[in-house]
């Protein structure tokens, strides 16, 4: 295969190619470091023409391509493929244009998420999706994963906040999808590309929608003695006609971890806390804040704090935003899950997770986007203890299966990647998986783009043995069992 690298060097400057094993190590995994693989080589193109040339050569030589942004993904979506090329878009890091009148930003895919809002700030505009990794993660990766964040309850996911992409197809052709108008002719390919995990093409430019910054906001923090009561108050707030900008929940284990780490003044004896942010015009925020406070108290909150000013609001948030590193201090390793469930099941699912954790003799810490039912159970384990990692993965799989059972999904915002590929067999049946493969083939008939991710083969599902017995029908009954 080094023959391929030699050919590549005739097309692309040597300085842009990494094939030395020591240097390749930096690219062997994304933020899900349990899954690692060295690629054949890494290429860091600097312009669209180079990406096209790379894709053309890979297509001709049947070499798989995995695109990578900042590598902050949590599902192994950017894990390299052996004998494949890793295409880093890190050098596509320019904000091409911010148009304040049109309220759009045209950016290259390697631009970090937070940089967009920073560039738009002088116009009182912002880019709404704000994944917790926003200081590091890139827009290209956000589009590939359809990233959310704490404010997507009100402002939507990446798919709701982008207008167009420029995409290089597997054959190296440049196509423009979407437009700066609010819709475009034909199929909604923009929606199809968003969240497609690098399986359909390589994004080289994105046009983002910018929103005007809310005039003011207020943050509340409520403590509960019962997890169920906290869950019920989430439903109560939504039922009252209020859509908060953010509505987050943490359980006791998480509150304690965060308090030890940050000393944010969280109530450490509470079974759960809710953090609720309301934004809008001043009159609206004041009135909704009073309503939310009343709902929280009626639902049984033992304490409700309303941030007196911006600084205090930021302290309320700081704990939530540092939950992952805080948990990182109490366990040598943790495994972050990402299921979504209907809000009404929050209380019962949390209890089921705790029961399962006991069965598996593992700790679980819960911190999540309660407003949209997006759970992030963090399973604590120690990789140096034999069998713990496997137990953690198995427990994670069980949790996702509960999410599907109660009418939810195995991934709310982290993507399937390699991590949740087995659980895809639980959520989808044979025909649905085949339909996904047919879509993939429409874009990538040779299956060269990020192979082995996101959509499992039927054989994999048969081997996984995910007995998704739906209405008494055995899945993949047509496949031989070994």
């Amino acid at each position: 295969m080094s023959l391929f690298v030699d050919k590549l060097k005739t097309q692309i400057a040597k300085e842009l190619i990494i094939s030395d094993e020591e240097l390749l190590r930096a690219y062997e995994c994304d933020a899900l470091s349990a899954y690692r693989q060295l690629p054949l080589c890494v290429v860091l193109p600097e312009n669209v023409e180079q990406v096209q040339a790379i894709m053309q050569l890979c297509y001709q030589e049947n070499v798989p391509v995995v695109a990578r942004g900042a590598g902050t993904g949590l599902s192994g979506g950017a894990m390299p493929v052996a004998d494949g090329l890793l295409l880093s878009l890190a050098r596509f890091n320019e904000i091409i244009e911010v148009d304040p009148h049109q309220r759009t930003a045209r950016v290259q895919p390697g631009v970090r998420n937070i940089c967009v809002s920073e560039a738009a700030e002088k116009y009182d505009l912002f880019y709404a999706p704000d994944p917790s990794s926003q200081i590091a993660c890139t827009i290209g990766g956000n589009v590939a994963e359809n990233s959310g964040g704490v404010h997507c309850l009100k402002y939507g996911l990446t798919v709701h906040n982008i207008m167009a992409v420029k995409l290089i197809t597997v054959t190296g052709e440049l196509v423009e999808i979407g437009a700066e108008s609010l819709d475009s002719a034909g199929y909604d390919l923009l929606a199809l590309i968003t969240g497609s995990e690098g399986m359909l093409g390589v994004i080289v430019e994105v046009t983002l929608k910018l929103l005007s910054k809310p005039l003011c906001n207020k943050v509340l923090l409520a403590a509960f003695d019962e997890v169920e009561a906290a869950g019920d108050s989430v439903a109560g707030i939504i039922a009252s006609g209020i859509i908060p900008a953010g509505l987050e929940m943490m359980d006791n284990a998480c509150i304690r971890a965060v308090e030890d780490y940050l000393h944010a003044g969280y109530p450490v004896d509470a079974a759960a806390i809710l953090i609720c942010e309301i934004d809008g015009a001043a009159e609206e925020v004041d009135s909704e804040c009073r309503k939310v406070e009343a709902i929280l108290k009626a639902a049984g909150a033992s304490e409700v704090r309303v941030a007196r000013d911006k600084a205090e609001g930021e302290i309320f948030w700081a704990g939530r935003k540092s939950a992952f590193p805080a948990v990182g201090r109490i366990a040598s390793d943790y495994y972050c899950m990402d299921g979504t469930i209907p809000r009404k099941h929050i209380g019962s699912v949390l209890n089921m997770i705790n029961d399962l954790a006991e069965q598996y003799h593992l700790g679980v810490v819960n911190v999540f986007h309660a407003g949209d039912g997006n759970l992030h159970p963090l399973i604590l384990y120690d990789v140096s203890i034999e069998g713990e990692q496997e137990r953690a993965e198995e427990l994670g799989g069980k949790i996702l299966e509960i999410c599907v059972e109660v009418g939810g999904t195995i991934t709310g915002e982290h993507g399937v990647g390699v991590e949740k590929i087995n659980q895809m067999c639980v959520q989808f049946n044979t025909e649905e998986l085949l339909q996904f493969h047919a879509i993939k083939s429409a874009f990538d008939p040779k299956g060269l783009l990020n192979p082995g991710k996101a959509i499992p083969t039927l054989h994999r599902c048969a081997e996984f043995g995910a007995m998704h017995v739906h209405q008494g029908k055995l899945p993949h009954a047509d496949l031989e069992r070994f």
Partner: protein
């Protein structure tokens, strides 16, 4: 009973698949005028109706595709919720399936999103008569490709919709419409300026020398915002926006069947300046949706819309056997054909309704 209906549809598609008979999917027929005229056996799916589940605290409603939009609106209104994208019906029998398949949205679109932004999941039959479920009933869901949104606006060419789950939103507490005199260029400027400010705008339009703006939200916030505009209150706002959405306004009075004048919809970047085409203009969506009644030649309209960075649809009138929608670039067309084949390999579902080729 609905199970039997679905089986009937499935059988119909299976037979059509074997015989390669083109099928023409029909719901309420309210948007039969929209898109290209096609031939085929009628697959009437309007009987598959009814609300399957609705839980106001989840902000989600799941309905069978034949459920009328008016029934959905009624059910939601009882809980003070709504389809925030304000879908046009054009007739009382308009269904949820047609609403999703046509992908049309109303006055609130630029401020809260389009029908595609509110589709959370769906159940459908593909061109091989397979029953498939995509998406779900939760807001955040990235498992598998986003087929639900891909099918929105696909005009039934990728599948027959059986059920859809839609995100709903609370109705605003208070609404107010303002009106004032303006010229077209100033109106476009103003609409874009307002959209970039933190005011609760929920609809904008310009025609006949007047600019209209609707504010929605908390009463005190709406009143505070209204006082900033140099416009006066327009008391008949609710009817005005409804007649605009439903094309009942006098502007749309012609049926465009006889003379050479047609109704065009130009979707362009909102800041596009005055477009140099002769005819009567009506502007909506903060400048992003522009209606034009004109007898200007098709090529010229398409050309101008394309150059502005948008596209033009021959909405009513004209040659319904010709191309109704803006032609696609070669690369994009190639992907469309490949996707059509992936869902409907024998091309039996609404063949040619969107584009002649597929």
């Amino acid at each position: 009973m609905t199970g039997e209906l679905v089986q009937q549809y499935q059988q119909h598609i299976q037979d059509a698949y074997v015989a390669e008979t083109p099928l023409c999917i029909q719901g309420g027929g309210s948007k039969a005028f929209y898109g290209r005229k096609i031939k085929g056996e009628i697959l009437d799916v309007s009987a598959n109706a009814g609300v399957i589940s609705y839980e106001p605290t989840e902000l989600v409603i799941t309905v069978r595709a034949g459920t009328t939009i008016s029934e959905i609106n009624e059910v939601l209104a009882k809980e003070k919720q709504m389809l925030a994208f304000e879908p046009p019906c054009f007739a009382t029998n308009a269904t949820a399936g047609g609403m999703v398949a046509c992908g049309l949205s109303g006055p609130r679109r630029p401020y809260v999103g389009a029908v595609r932004d509110f589709v959370l999941g769906l159940k459908c039959l593909n061109g091989k008569a397979e029953i498939l479920n995509f998406g779900g009933q939760v807001m955040k869901n990235v498992a598998g490709y986003d087929v639900s949104r891909l099918m929105t606006g696909a005009m039934g060419t990728l599948g027959v919709l059986l059920e859809v789950s839609l995100k709903v939103l609370p109705e605003p507490e208070y609404e107010l419409t303002l009106k004032g005199e303006s010229d077209l260029a100033t109106a476009i400027q103003l609409m874009n300026k307002w959209a970039g400010q933190s005011v609760p705008v929920s609809a904008t339009s310009f025609h006949d020398g007047n600019i209209y703006i609707r504010l929605s939200g908390h009463k005190s916030a709406v009143l505070a915002a209204a006082s900033q505009f140099p416009l006066s209150e327009y008391p008949d706002g609710e009817n005005y926006w409804q007649s605009l959405r439903e094309h009942k306004d006098n502007y749309f009075a012609d049926d465009f069947s006889s003379d050479s004048r047609n109704l065009w919809r130009l979707s362009v970047p909102s800041t596009t300046e005055e477009i140099n085409l002769q005819g009567q203009w009506l502007i909506e969506w903060g400048g992003a949706q522009r209606w034009l009644i004109t007898s200007e030649p098709l090529e010229q309209i398409r050309n101008v819309a394309g150059k502005a960075g948008g596209h033009a649809t021959l909405f009513r009138g004209g040659d319904r056997d010709g191309e109704i929608f803006q032609p696609l670039s070669t690369g994009i067309e190639h992907l469309h054909v490949a996707l059509k084949n992936a869902f409907d390999p024998k091309r039996i579902l609404n063949r040619g309704r969107l584009y002649k080729k597929f």
